[in-house]
């Protein structure tokens, strides 16, 4: 089964210390091609810190990260993105003063190749590539039901739409692995339901792997193929949704009765 699939992300014995505090320790996991993988655990367990290590906002203290077999040790945040990791943020980080469309087009930065000179003098390649970028960005907005809002200022969108826009912007960088930090936070049940469908669609349509952090168990159990539970920075359990809900330790530490 999963053994025949190629790993997109391979984390081995990953750990980080902040001063005397060990926020994450001995974390190992493997996300396969086209897999939706869940990372769950109580508040302060170190989930977001894992994302920050993957995207090099923090440099890990120990362990290795491999993306499609390539170590990210020497990369910075920008190089990691170019190598194929894109993310969203727990506290939304949109470009709030830009239009919805421009937020996504900013994600297409490295997809556009015209020079500064060509843009200043509006040479033909500028027009062509901007048109392509508009089309690509609109296509992404359509997936998230935001095409009608393309010209609005991002900061004026309701919370749920801001979260979806952030995913669209991340996807614009054509990642191999998408990291979603609590994508359903602040959404109502209907929006969460729609988001589950959209996440599955994104996986199928773009053929990418998705690693997500989420407290909404309905979403996690509904779309993740495998899950890792983190507690106090340590791995508590790993398995399919069925295995996780029936694991007594997980129930005791996180899920409750």
């Amino acid at each position: 089964m999963s053994e025949t699939r190629t790993p997109v992300l391979k984390i081995t014995d990953l750990g980080i210390d902040f001063g005397g505090l060990t926020a994450v320790n001995d974390l190992s996991l493997c996300v396969y091609d086209k897999e939706i993988y869940g990372l769950i655990g109580p508040n302060g367990a170190g989930k977001t810190t894992v994302f920050n290590m993957l995207t090099k906002v923090y440099q890990p203290s120990r362990g290795t990260i491999e993306l499609c077999g390539q170590s990210t040790e020497k990369m910075n945040t920008i190089e990691v993105n170019k190598a194929g990791i894109a993310r969203t943020f727990q506290n939304i980080r949109l470009f709030m003063n830009m239009s919805v469309l421009d937020n996504v087009k900013t994600g297409l930065h490295n997809d556009i190749s015209y020079s500064v000179f060509e843009s200043i003098f509006r040479l033909p390649r500028f027009g062509k590539q901007e048109k392509d970028a508009d089309a690509k960005a609109m296509e992404l907005l359509k997936i998230f039901g935001l095409e009608e809002k393309a010209d609005l200022i991002a900061g004026n969108l309701p919370y749920g739409e801001q979260r979806r826009l952030e995913i669209a912007r991340a996807l614009a960088t054509s990642p191999k692995l998408l990291l979603l930090d609590e994508p359903a936070a602040g959404m109502n049940p209907q929006e969460t339901e729609d988001l589950m469908k959209t996440i599955r669609f994104v996986r199928d349509h773009f053929g990418i792997a998705i690693l997500l952090i989420e407290h909404d168990m309905k979403l996690v159990m509904g779309i993740c193929e495998r899950i890792t539970v983190l507690n106090f920075g340590m791995m508590l359990a790993e398995g399919t949704p069925d295995e996780i809900v029936n694991n007594p330790e997980v129930v005791k530490a996180y899920l409750g009765e």
């Binding site: 910075n76 920008i78 980080r93 003063n97 830009m98 087009k105 900013t106 500064v116 843009s119 500028f126």
Partner: protein, 351 residues
Amino acid sequence: MFSPKRRGRTVSLLIVILAYVILQAMIMSGNLSRLLISLLVPVCAYIVAALGLNLNVGFSGELNLGQAGFMSIGAFTSVILAGILNANGITGIPVLILCILAGAAMAAAVGWLISVPVLKLQGDYLAIVTLAFGQIIMSLINNLYCGIDSKGLHFAFVTNTIELAEGGKMLISGPMGATGVSTVSTFTAGFILVVLTLLIVYNLIDSRSGRAITAARDNRIAAESIGISISRTKTLAFVISSCLGGAAGALYALNYSSFVATKFDFNSSILLLVYVVLGGLGNMSGTIISTAVLVVLPEMLRFLQNYRMLIYAVVLIVIMLVSNNEFLKTKAEQLKKKLSANRKKGAAENV
């Protein structure tokens, strides 16, 4: 689809063109005083330098205290180049065009050299470095001697050791500044440079680089997460700002038969910053208006003699208070909303 942003830009271009036409008509009919006519080219030069600076300070969000230094580089580069061209029998408009290009290129090159190491660092280091840069450039040029004769260019530093051959000419004479410049700048040339600058700035803002610059300022971490290099985009904004400062300096220089290096001192850099801040960070038409008003105003106040700078300061403070007044701002917003609502209603009735 015609976005309000795009409409605002078209309007500001039209206003600049209209201002040019009106001023030209006034010159032709003799309705513009000699004083104001003499200010037209410097106003254009300061507008170009301030527009560039607004890209750096307003859009990119970095403090730059040395824009006058880049004007100085552009100015003295163009003095030397104009000397060479004149010696080779080239005069008039070609000199102006080549000098503006050379001044812009030289200022951009120097801007790139000083910003690449600095903008790799986070924090307000650029302010400190540009402050020092402005002072250093001023002292260097204030001690520079340059002359031209049949053998070519001659340079000397601190003491004038240049001995020119028969028919030679000094171009830069240390503290005496540039001398014997052939004045080729015209109001029309200045106007064209302002329009070009506006187009360059607007086109840049509406492009991949402009989005990256805004993104890097709005949210550093998010910008990096989508593969945008902060130092690169900030460097780009700074280099283009320097480049426009250089072009402005060249236009300015070729308007006077002589001028000194201390014309481009720390005060001038601060004044340029004042034009940008009062015009509005990131607001290009505001920058044009504030620059024009604030360059002309102190000259108009000359009749007040000793009280001139006092009144100037008071006017500055009043403008600052008015333009940052919450009450007036909300009133203006309401008025704008009302107007656009009326327009929509009008449009609906037309259907």
